[in-house]
Amino acid sequence: MMSVLAIEVPYWGQSLLRVLGGLVAVLLPAGTIVYVFLFKMMSFMQSRLGPMEAGPYGSMQLFAEVGKWLQKEDIQPDNADKRIFRMAPIVVLMSTFLLVAVVPFGPDAWFTNFETGVFYALAVSSISVLGILMAGWSSANKYSLLGGLRAAGQLIAYELPMVLAVVGVVIQAGTMNLQQIVLAQNAGSIFGSDIVGNPYVLTQFVGFVVFMIAVQAELTQAPFDMPIAESELVSGYMTEYSGFRFLIFFIGEFATAGVFAMIASTLFLGGWGIPFSWFGWTDMDSVANWMNVAGPLIVFTKMMVLVFLIMWIRFSSPRFREDQLQRFAWKVLIPVSLANIMVTAVLKVAF
């Protein structure tokens, strides 16, 4: 039996709550990100207003778009490998749903409390590469195949700095459990002062920067958007997708942005917690029950801040060239993150 807000919930209820919670935790941020950042922030950065007709300030625009996509014809190329073609978008979206499963939202509000949550998150996040490769190959289209291969090369190249950046956090927290990492950040102290706890963005700043760059590349957002370069590859692996299959790719892209931002906020910004010293909490058991409600909101806020960074860079940067991209990953990010691990390990032992 688990208690949420001091109410005992039976096992089937917990499962149901988790499924619903998973849907909400993936789709709500995705919708918010698309409206706030893709529709509005991008427009404002280009000195225009964006959608204004559907609902107040165009807030219902996303529903209109979804309706439009659902109406469209579901086209599959003749030479396409039909089964794989149909599976690919679902595989991409699946990796997002698997990823959200380890994000903690409160002292008791979590989907699963893995001991090796970080490891699991990094593992399932690369499932989307599989989906993208499947999409690129099965479309029977040169552009799609090139886009798929570019995506695979890019995601593999940036998976590595991402893993290495997280290792620094894992060393400092001494655990791979995301819940424990949150605890370590909020209950910790930095130079003897516990006024803001110890969010790892301060001590692991290099790791944070490397992680965010790698996330940018994992999400194939500009300046790392060669796999879906519309001017060279006609949207790459998504070329042949239309209607609701494209919609699934689209949701997957922004849902993954949200979930990666949640993981980044858990690892570096203190996750659902607020510095425990503010309320005199010392460990997980002493955290007040209302954090189960406030926690998701805090995670959501931190996620929005990080997605703002991701999108801001996306809307401001031109695209890298393919070789520049690979060079940046292998020659800059990986050495930097390796050095970060070394310094972290030495300091961990020294203090």
Partner: protein
């Protein structure tokens, strides 16, 4: 490393634009609700002053898209002077411009020797059916009302000789 200052500058540009749009509104207008007045010499639609046309076919022949269709017949008009011969004038039967083909180059307006064609800044004449973009003589004549008066010549400019 050398690219980082440029990147930050770019980020600042987009951020400042966003803040400016928040404060002062956007540079664009919400089209069907509010409209921008196009400049008076904007190339919106071509108007026909039918009485000036002599159906010389210059416009039709110089049109790169062949989108002007002219048909005419000769008519006898009363003589200019007492006791003279009746004049033969060309009477327009058909003068159509197909705006589905027109590319708004304005060569017809330039080439017209009798000032029968004019640019008008009017731009709202889209049609649900592409065939309705073929504007006939009377419709082209109606556009004449929207043609703005020619701007004043610059001081000291040479007057056009008759």
């Amino acid at each position: 490393m050398a690219q980082i200052p440029g990147m930050i500058k770019g980020l600042a540009v987009t951020f400042n634009t966003m803040m400016r749009t928040f404060k002062n509104g956007s540079n664009t207008v919400q089209y069907p609700h509010e409209k921008e007045a196009p400049p008076i010499r904007a190339r919106g639609v071509i108007a026909l002053h039918e009485d000036n046309c002599t159906s010389c076919m210059l416009c039709s022949r110089s049109c790169p898209d062949w989108c002007i269709y002219i048909e005419a017949h000769k008519e006898l008009a009363p003589p200019r002077r007492e006791g003279g011969k009746p004049r033969a004038v060309n009477k327009l039967d058909r003068f159509d411009i197909d705006y589905a083909l027109c590319m708004y180059c304005g060569i017809c307006v330039e080439v017209c020797p009798f000032d029968a064609l004019f640019w008008s800044p009017e731009y709202e004449y889209s049609e649900p059916s592409i065939a309705d973009l073929l504007h006939d003589k009377s419709k082209l004549g109606e556009w004449m009302e929207t043609v703005p008066a020619a701007p004043e010549l610059e001081a000291g400019a040479e007057k056009k000789k008759k």
